[in-house]
Amino acid sequence: MASAGSGDEKAATVTLISSDNEHFEVPEAVATLSQTIRHMIEDGCTDGGVPLPNVTGRILAKVLEYCNKHAAASDKDELEKFDKAFVDIDDQATLFDLVMAANYLDIRGMLDLTCQTIADMIKGKSVEEIRETFNIKNDFTPEEEAEIRRENQWAFDD
């Protein structure tokens, strides 16, 4: 298994390079929480660092926060507490960025966590409230909307 990064042989590390050229040196054990990076390490193409053009430095830092915690800790309650705090974000844009980063880097746990957070934001809300929460425009034509309302009413339950 090729290990990139500094010549320090004590713990193999890999360098991740964000889209805005920030460098993060990360132990392999942590970085391989991302299946994408794990495949790259296994294929031996991590010399000189792994460029991640889809992830900014700010988001990558947060992702690594998650990976660090989940690679180290084993206590279920501790991880649960961490996860809850991790997604307690005021800024929706960051949440969506994390979803996309988790998808791109193929970190299953983080993807499920951030997606469930979005689902939880929808719980109990009316249509108007959902649109307001996510700042969505109603792009239905009146006929389309009427059709969906009709279907909701009598086509199917559940």
Partner: protein, 659 residues
């Protein structure tokens, strides 16, 4: 995992639009509540597409919707067709036809309970179109027989099959399924009385993975239990009302040791000894239901309970004679009990309950229906010791009154269901229950001292209430209903039978209950079409409506139902002032209506009945009519009804006005 292209997460302002369809669908997959999902469908086109891509379960209400439901939701795994009005083989097969270039269906679970229009042709089409089919529920399709079983036997991956009340099924059909579906894990053949020991023997040989079996009410003998004892993985067996099984059979069952749940209720030849022997060999039993059997509780059984004291969580001994000493013995052995059933048990006293709950503090469900000796002291003991109690059944305990509920209200904040039918309680009881904010089901039938004041208490804090029974609480008026609906907006089932003071104004209040599905208003003599109209307009989810003896309801009310209550399935309009025209319109337009009771419609002529019933042909499944009509309705009509699978009950009752 999908990799979308360089989706710009370039820092500022990534809105939800930045998420690809797959990612948004992944997020919406976590939205479980059906109402929330419907809201998502209306938010935007992207949300509607993502909702469709992530929807895993659907329950179509009309057969016209079926083709679309099957194609629009690629992730669909569970399909519930039990409410699909008018479903028959032709429409099912047509809907299942593969679209050109379309993917195969991933449906795994299909529910066809009471779908009496579906037969072997439809089932063949279903099995053919759904290669991943794992679970089928065909219960109460009374015409289903061996031909239908043959169709299901082609689903090689079938794991769960429920065939309760499929009266036509015999050993031959069961054999076909056993051979064709060797991976079967759960099977229920309740009431399929043509099945015998031979069928069960073959089943046990061919399906070694069986974990759960229900042979209730079959005429099988101990030999079936001998066959079933060979199943190494059998965990759960139900044999309610198996009159040909006795202690010898239970002894044969003892050959295995994997049982976790056993139901021998109503088995008149099973005694304490047989059950004790069975428990001896099974170390992991969690649930025992021996209601209405055992003749009497003997020490041999009670002492054996200590061997399973750690694992036993459910014990039902309904209908047996039980004394305080017995309850003490149970309490000493089984500290982990979560549910105890003592309904109709003679001999249960306050002392017995006290000794039980002192040791069994984890009890969540306590059923002491008709335990006539119990007083408020028993309730105090329960409240003190079982703080986590969720379900209390206290029907017909005449010495329990409102004082008994004081401690329950303060200490049992987890209470979700309480049945106080026929108890002598007044509004003060409801005042105590206000603090139970988790309350979902409240039954107050025959509690004639309950008045509007009580409803004010309930409305003030029990926001999760879903079911309320006020049968014969005749002091209730419109004001009480107003207070109720202000606080309890989630009510789905409401029984107001004989609450005769209620008028149209009260119904106007009820019309704000958007989730109302079942409404019983028998003998509400003051309500008219105006009240019915407000209900019809305001409660779009209405499925069942009982208007028997609402003498002032006329065509206008029924017209509103025809127009707005499109999901109505069950309707009782006996004694209402409806004419032939109104009836015809009603039966003609309500496409989901399946069950109608219309006895003593004095304003409908014979022609009126003829036209109205023809208008609904093909949809009605159950009909109740005055006996006298049998001889005057045309034979063609009666034949047509029968051919369409409609069962008619003829009632010979004299015309008497009440209320």
């Amino acid at each position: 995992m999908s990799h979308d292209g360089p989706g710009s997460s370039a820092g500022a302002g990534a809105g939800v639009d930045a998420l690809s369809l797959d990612l948004l669908a992944h997020a919406l997959a976590g939205v479980r509540d059906p109402r929330d999902r419907k809201s998502c469908r209306l938010a935007s086109r992207a949300f509607a597409r993502a909702e469709a891509a992530s929807r895993r379960a659907a329950r179509p209400l009309r057969r016209e919707a079926l083709p679309r439901v099957l194609r629009a939701f690629p992730a669909l795994a569970a399909l519930d067709l039990s409410a699909c009005a008018g479903l028959d083989d032709a429409s099912l097969a047509a809907a299942l036809l593969p679209a050109p270039g379309g993917a195969e269906l991933g449906v795994r679970r299909v529910r066809l309970a009471r779908a009496s229009g579906v037969g072997w042709r439809g089932l063949e089409a279903l099995v053919g179109a759904c290669p991943r089919l794992e679970a089928v529920d065909l219960s109460h399709c009374v015409a289903a027989g061996d031909r239908e079983m043959a169709a299901l036997a082609a689903a090689a991956g079938l794991r769960e099959l429920v065939m309760d009340k499929c009266l036509g099924v015999t050993d031959v059909g069961l054999a076909k399924v056993a051979v064709g579906c060797p991976g079967l894990r759960r099977l229920s053949v309740k009431w399929c009385r043509e099945i015998s020991d031979i069928g069960i023997e073959l089943l046990a040989k061919k399906c070694p993975d069986l974990r759960s079996i229900d042979i209730s009410y079959l005429k099988v003998s101990n030999e079936s239990l001998r066959s079933l004892s060979t199943l190494k993985k059998l965990e759960d067996i139900a044999m309610v009302g198996c009159l040909f099984i006795d202690d010898d059979g239970l002894q044969m069952l003892s050959a295995g040791n994997s049982l976790q749940s056993i139901d021998v209720s109503r088995c008149h030849h099973v005694t304490s000894q047989g059950l004790a022997l069975l428990i001896d060999s099974q170390r992991f039993i969690q649930k025992i239901n021996a209601g209405h059997s055992l003749h009497e509780i003997e020490t041999c059984f009670l002492s054996k309970l200590s061997t399973i004291g750690e694992t036993l969580t459910v014990l039902r001994l309904d209908g047996l004679e039980i004394f305080a000493s017995n309850l003490q013995a149970i309490a000493d052995s089984c500290k982990n009990l979560a549910e105890i059933g003592l309904s109709k048990c003679n001999g249960v006293t306050d002392d017995g309950i006290a000794s039980l709950v002192v040791n069994c503090s984890y009890l969540r469900t306590i059923d002491v229906t008709c335990c006539h000796l119990l007083t408020n002291d028993a309730l105090a003991a329960i409240a003190e010791n079982c703080r986590m109690v969720e379900c209390l059944r206290l029907e017909s305990c005449p010495f329990i009154n409102e004082k008994g509920l004081e401690r329950i209200g303060t200490l049992c904040s987890n209470l979700k269901e309480i049945d106080l039918t026929d108890c002598r309680i007044n509004d003060e009881a409801l005042q105590h229950l206000t603090s139970c904010s988790e309350l979902q089901i409240l039954k107050l039938g025959l509690c004639s001292s309950i008045s509007d004041k009580g409803l004010v208490y309930i409305g003030s804090n029990c926001a999760k209430l879903v079911e309320l029974d006020l049968y014969r609480c005749s002091a209730i008026t419109d004001e009480g209903l107003a207070a109720l609906v202000r606080g309890c907006k989630k009510i789905r089932m409401l029984n107001l039978r004989y609450c005769t003071q209620i008028t149209d104004a009260g119904l106007k209040h009820l019309s704000t209950l958007e989730e109302l599905t079942n409404l019983e208003m028998r003998c509400l003599v003051r309500i008219t079409g105006i009240g019915i109209t407000s209900i019809a307009v305001g409660c779009p989810s209405l499925i069942e409506l009982d208007l028997k003896r609402c003498y002032s309801v006329d065509d206008a009310g029924l017209w509103a139902l025809s127009r707005y209550s499109q999901n109505l399935r069950q309707l009782t309009i006996s004694y209402c002032q409806v004419t032939g025209l109104g009836l015809c319109h009603l039966l003609g337009t309500l496409r989901c209506l399946q069950d109608v009771k219309m006895v003593h419609l004095s304003w409908v002529s014979i022609e009126g009945f003829e036209i109205a019933l023809r208008a609904s042909c093909g949809r009605l499944k159950k009909l109740k009519l005055l006996g006298g009509l049998r001889s005057v309705l045309s034979p063609e009509l009666l034949q047509m009804l029968q051919a369409c699978g409609c069962r008619v009950r003829w009632l010979d009752k004299p015309l008497v006005y009440k209320g």
